[in-house]
Subunit: 214 residues, 2 copies
């Protein structure tokens, strides 16, 4: 029997959450190896020997090199398990979905993840209130644009009625926004996708609250 | 005659620089429409009506919707003009190259671009020295990891001897690092790719110094 892939995971990591959703959407059973970000385990020698960047997620599939970076892992999963696809077949539609996904993965999430918030509080000595406003600022700027960009082609999900890479990136970002008490009231298209996804087991089962407690 | 694609461009934007390299590698002639980031033109109504996110680059190809987000545009170019490809055909190698590209595009560049540096100096009141240290910190952390990840499979470029998406992301980031006087001495693999690229017209012609003065 083929060994199940091992996901190097942390329950609250948005990037790991994306990969959990992706694995679930493809129906790939996997084992979780928790890397505790709160204990700094990702920066330890043992994990760095596996992934020099010291970030989660990473995915080890038997017979393949360790993979890192959520978007690269999701691309590999999509090539390996083509059905259901994370991206539309038409190349203009694909560019639209990829653009929405990277609006989140490149322009929102990197500014608001743990290592950055720690740098603001530590070396920069930013107050808790100013840090929260920083968080809110990038969410608001990003979600406002995403709402406009998504609207014309959205359905039950961000693009049409089936989940795409854009939803895989959106749902963890919405979870994060709520955790920091950022209102998402002004983004009806994003909220609709979130509501749809909450009824889809692939998304629901990947939710941080359902991962093993640490 | 088919109209040439229009690139909404700014000479110093790393993301726009990536797309200039990509268009050149594919041998696609294009027209440039400069959006002056220094004058805030990207946030003006005229440009926002085209691209609600108010960022460069954007690419308009006749008969296709406007495209935004450099990685989405590069993916579209790669699908439309398959030769030479930006990514290896083998899916494990492809994941490796995509991982390196997103280490730059998701984990370095978003923290160091103009809108973020402006927020540090403005709302957060961070000193010039602390801002420069922030810049240096994310470059050093990212490049150290990238150097280790790239080394085993690097050739004249980051992956083998032909340019990939990883180099398309690296070269603008190296340009930026040097502009902020960040040493890249400790990253021989990155410097070798940079040296190779400097002798390749597709990269050299995309250099910010060769774009129209503003």
């Amino acid at each position: 029997m083929q060994k199940a892939p091992i996901l190097y995971d942390y329950f609250r990591s948005s990037a790991a959450y994306r990969v959990r959703i992706g694995l679930n959407l493809k129906g790939v059973a996997y084992e979780k190896h928790t890397v505790s970000l709160i204990d700094g385990e990702q920066k330890g020698d043992a994990y760095r020997a596996l992934n020099p960047q010291g970030l989660v997620p990473a995915l080890k599939v038997a017979g393949h090199p360790l993979m890192t970076q959520s978007l690269a892992i999701l691309d590999w999963l999509d090539a390996t398990y083509p059905d259901p696809s994370f991206l539309p077949g038409d190349k203009d539609e694909r560019a639209h979905v990829l653009s929405m996904a990277t609006m989140i993965a490149c322009d929102i999430h990197p500014l608001n993840n743990l290592r950055v918030l720690k740098y603001l509080k530590g070396p920069l000595g930013v107050s808790e209130a100013a840090k929260d406003e920083w968080y809110r600022h990038w969410i608001a700027e990003g979600f406002e644009a995403l709402e406009k960009v998504a609207q014309p082609h959205a359905g039950a999900y961000l693009y049409g009625d089936t989940p795409t890479l854009a939803d895989i990136c959106l749902i963890p970002q919405l979870y994060n926004a709520r955790r920091f008490s950022v209102s998402v009231a002004n983004y009806p298209t994003l909220r609709r996708a979130d509501e749809t996804a909450s009824g889809n087991h692939a998304f629901a089962d990947a939710h941080p609250d359902l991962q093993e407690a640490l």
